[in-house]
Structure formats: C-alpha cells, structure tokens
C-alpha cells in the first residue's frame, strides 16, 4: 500500500502541473461566467415582482453550472487517464519505478489513484462553489442533487479508470477517443436502437446494451433543481452507480492483466 500511495502522490504532483488542467479550468470558469449572465434576467424578473421566476432561474443556473463542471471533469478524466501511463513511458521515468519491486498492477493502481485524487479534488471545488452559490441564492439543495454529485464522483472514477485501462494497450489519443465513443456516445445509441424496427441495428443495440455500463434513467443533475421533479427512485440510482463502479473495476483489472504481460518498448 505504501508503494501505491507513493506512486499516487507522484501521479498527483505530475497531474497538477499539466497545462491542460489550467486550460480546462479557465474554459470552465469562462463558460460559467457566460451562463451567469442569465442573472441579468433575475434582476428583471425581480423588478417585475416574479418571485417564482427568480427562484427558477437561480436553481437552473446552479444545475447548469454543475453540468458544465461535470463535462469538464469527464473531459479531464478521459484525457488524464489516457496519458498517465504513456507520459511515464515517453519520459522513461517508468524505468526506475518498474526496476524496483513494484508489481505492474500496483503501479497502475497508483497512477490511477493519483489522477482520481486530482479529479475528485477538482470536482469537490466545483461542488463547493455550487453549494456556496445555492446558499447565496437561497436555492434548496435537494437529496437528488446529492445523489447527482455522488454520480459525478463515480463518473470521474469511471471515465478515468476506463481510459487508464485502454491506455495499457492503445496509444493515448486512441485510448481517449475509444473511451469517449464507447462510454459517452454509444450508450445513447444503444438505448435508442433497442426499439429500432430494423433487426440489424436492434441486435447491435441489444449487444451494446448488455456490454456497456448501465445508464441512469433520468438526468440526475437536470432533475436536481427542477421545480417539477420526477418521483425519485434512489435505490435504482444507487444500484446503477454501484454497478458502474464494479464495471470500471473489472475493466481496470483487465488493464492490469494486459500491462503485466506487456513489455515496455522505450525509444
């Protein structure tokens, strides 16, 4: 465990120095500011005495801000997960790590843990900002928002873990793209294709439905601050989140198995 922790700390230190993080942070804040411009409407609605509209705009702003932050985290998770192994190989720092008595699975776990700690810290910052805003705007923090935030943390683990696992046998660019296509685009296709009248896409959609991780039946973030909230099924949401956690652990185990059998070609 000491070895995994040592590698994780180093992975964290590397990640926090990556330029991409600062670019994503800047873009996220800028998008947040642009979305924040809708607060002008709050002033207008307030002046018109539309208290309900004011509350709705404020709640919607917090939900949207969280969604933007979530998208940034997913991008960072895929990107950082895909490059965490290859950057060590290209810089050859991996040589003096793996020449020590460190198993490859412990090494990969440490690299992933470092990225994950960073993503979760970034996510925690976004959630903290949202909570502050909710408090400032007097917007109620619903139980569904808490589940949605939990889902965001699990998503960060999911996408980074999948990208790390993919990067054990793919170049980082491909690992990132494949992770994005497989786990961001294809699940929507699978759900839509289940009812396709043509049998070929329907079979494919059915296969994908069972191969890909489970999808949330509702957009938790979108629903969290909605005034007409659906009847929440928390047990189902938690079951899906657990299932996805197990899915990524299985994918990570496959990644460890591949890395353990792979030789390191250093040029």
């Amino acid at each position: 465990m000491v070895k995994v922790w040592a590698i994780a700390r180093t992975s964290w230190q590397e990640t926090i120095r990556r330029q991409v993080f600062y670019i994503v942070l800047l873009v996220t804040l800028l998008v947040g500011l642009i979305i924040g411009s809708q607060m002008v409407l709050v002033r207008m609605a307030g002046a018109a005495g539309e208290a309900a509209a004011v509350a709705q705009i404020r709640a919607s702003f917090i939900g949207t801000a969280l969604q933007v932050w979530n998208a940034a985290v997913i991008f960072l998770a895929i990107f950082l997960g895909a490059i965490t192994l290859s950057s060590e190989v290209s810089k050859k720092t991996i040589v003096h790590v793996l020449s020590r008595p460190v198993s490859r699975s412990a090494y990969l776990a440490g690299r992933w843990l470092g990225v994950l700690m960073f993503l979760w810290a970034f996510l925690a910052l976004g959630v903290a900002l949202s909570l502050l805003l909710a408090h400032y705007f007097n917007v109620g923090w619903t139980p569904m928002a808490s589940v949605a935030v939990l889902g965001m943390f699990i998503k960060a683990a999911f996408f980074s873990g999948i990208a790390v696992a993919m990067s054990t046998f793919m170049v980082p660019m491909l690992a990132g793209c494949v992770s994005f296509v497989l786990y961001v685009l294809l699940p929507s296709y699978a759900v839509q294709g289940l009812h396709n009248p043509a049998w070929t896409p329907r079979i494919l959609a059915n296969a994908l439905y069972y191969l890909l991780p489970a999808r949330m039946p509702v957009d938790l973030l979108g629903e969290s601050f909605s005034q007409q909230m659906i009847r929440p099924e928390y047990a189902l949401y938690l079951e899906i989140l657990t299932e996805n956690s197990l899915y990524v652990l299985a994918a990570f185990a496959v990644g460890c198995w591949i890395l353990g059998r792979r030789e390191l070609r250093l040029r």
């Binding site: 000491v2 070895k3 922790w5 040592a6 590698i7 180093t10 230190q13 590397e14 120095r17 810089k91 050859k92 720092t93 040589v95 003096h96 790590v97 793996l98 020449s99 020590r100 008595p101 460190v102 198993s103 030789e263 390191l264 070609r265 250093l266």
Partner: protein, 309 residues
Amino acid sequence: MSSSAVIEIEGLTKTFGSLWHRQRIRAVSDVSLLVERGSVVAFVGPNGAGKTTTIYALLGLLKPDQGSIRLFGNPAGSLEARRRTGFQSEIFYTYGFKTADQALRFYGELSGMPKERIAEAVPRQLARLGLADAASRRVRDFSKGMVQRLGLAQALLHGPELLILDEPTTGLDPEGRKLVADIILEEKARGTTILLSSHILSDVERTCDHVVMLRKGGVAFAQNMARLRADSDAWEIEVLKWTDSARAAVPGAEVQDKANGVSVVRCGNAAKQAVLLKLLQEGAEIGSVRQASSLEDIYMNFTGASSNG
C-alpha cells in the same frame, strides 16, 4: 545452474519489430552469461551491440524471444529479483519537480524500505555522492552530472546485492568519474555483485574482474581481467624529457610522441628492463612505467571502431 551465480542468462535472443514493420532487428542473439556472487562484470561494446537490451531483459522490462534469465535463482523481473537489485540507466530519468531528497525517499518507498531506514539512508547516499548541499534543490535545476550522481544514489539506496549500472559515468566530469569508480570499488569490497556497462575502458580495467564484449548482439569475447592482464605482454614507458643519446639508445623500441614533448616507448615484457636501464643511463627523464592497455587493443580488434570514452 550454479548456486553462487547471481545472474544466469542462457541463450537470450531478442528481436525488435512487429507485424506492421517489415524490418526486424535482432538486438541480442544467443547470449549466455553467468555472473558469480561478488564479481564485477563489465559489458563493453559499441553502440547498438545489445548491452542495454540485455540489461532491460534482466530487469524484466523486455521479454526474451528465446532463452531464459534468472537473477538470484528467480525469473528476471520477479519482485524478489528486483528487490535485491539496484539499477541506474545511462541517463537517470526522474521527476524534475521533486527535490533530490524527495526523489530518493520516493525510490526508497518503492523498494519497500521502512521509514526509519529511508531517513537514515537518504542523507547518507546524498553525502556519498557529493549531493548533500543539493538535497532540497529540485532535480530539474540539476546539471547533467548531478542527475547522474543522483541516479547512482537511488541505485545504492536500499543496499542491493546486485548493482546494474548502464554507463553510469555518462555526462560526468573527471572528478565525478573517479567518484563513481571509487564507489564501484567500495561496493565490490562490500561483496556486491556488479554488472557494469561502459565505454570507458580504463574504468573497466580498474574496477572489473571480468569483461564481456558484445558485438552485433552476440558475445564476441569474454575474459577474466586478471588473465587479460597476465596475457598482456606490452609495456609503456612514459618519457618526460629526452636527450639525443637516449633516443638513439633504444632504436628497436616503438616510440609514440605525445603533447608537450612527452613520448611513450612501447616494448615487450622481456625487453622492458633493458630499455628502461638504457633510457636512465642516457639521462632521459621517466614519468611512469605501466602495462599497456590490452583491453583497448582487444576492443579495437573485435569492434574495428574507436571507443566513445
């Protein structure tokens, strides 16, 4: 299999290339090697001879196409083999954002050293390598030579039984080179088995017990250094100042003129005493008398190229 053997390589063959690359390069071909406990073995050979490939296979980073490698009786790359091995690569690739102290602590943790041992070993190794004053400096601010010395410090940190050093003097100044050679001799005296890959033949002659010369992926020559020295018949007499009569007194000897008026007279062992006596009688000023470098001659014979050292 010898019970005292630390490294056992049998028929190691490694080819690079893939299904997509038509050209396949055989980096190492049928290399066999036995390194006994406590010995210092030099790996010499021109660039591309297969030294680093063999070393990476020893560490388990590369997998042999054919043949077997065992370290301390364990398969290469096994945790037990790596636990007892210290390795320094030609260039020490490490994390520039860490300080020297942090970097060594990191490698200590990876070696499974307890905290107390790390706390004791890190400053000791930094001082040993002349880096005590730079302990809190970031590695990215180090000179090339300092990075190399830090690389040796991390290899020595956990007190390994086997040291694998891949051109450890790359980028070092003469002082640094001497320091590395001294450390190799200290470790040798401590009983550490050392596999040293180097282009600096004078260092190899000074520190190693055995020499293995690789060429085009195969073992071209392997010999015990003591035997090599004994077999060498040539001697070199360094003459600092000549007299006219002295030069005429040794007509049969081979004289090579060097810089600043210094010359080297080469002669066989049998003629050595007579030549020396004549030179002294005729008033020549003698600088030194030493056995000629046989390893360099052999290297040149086998590789047909000059060494990088």
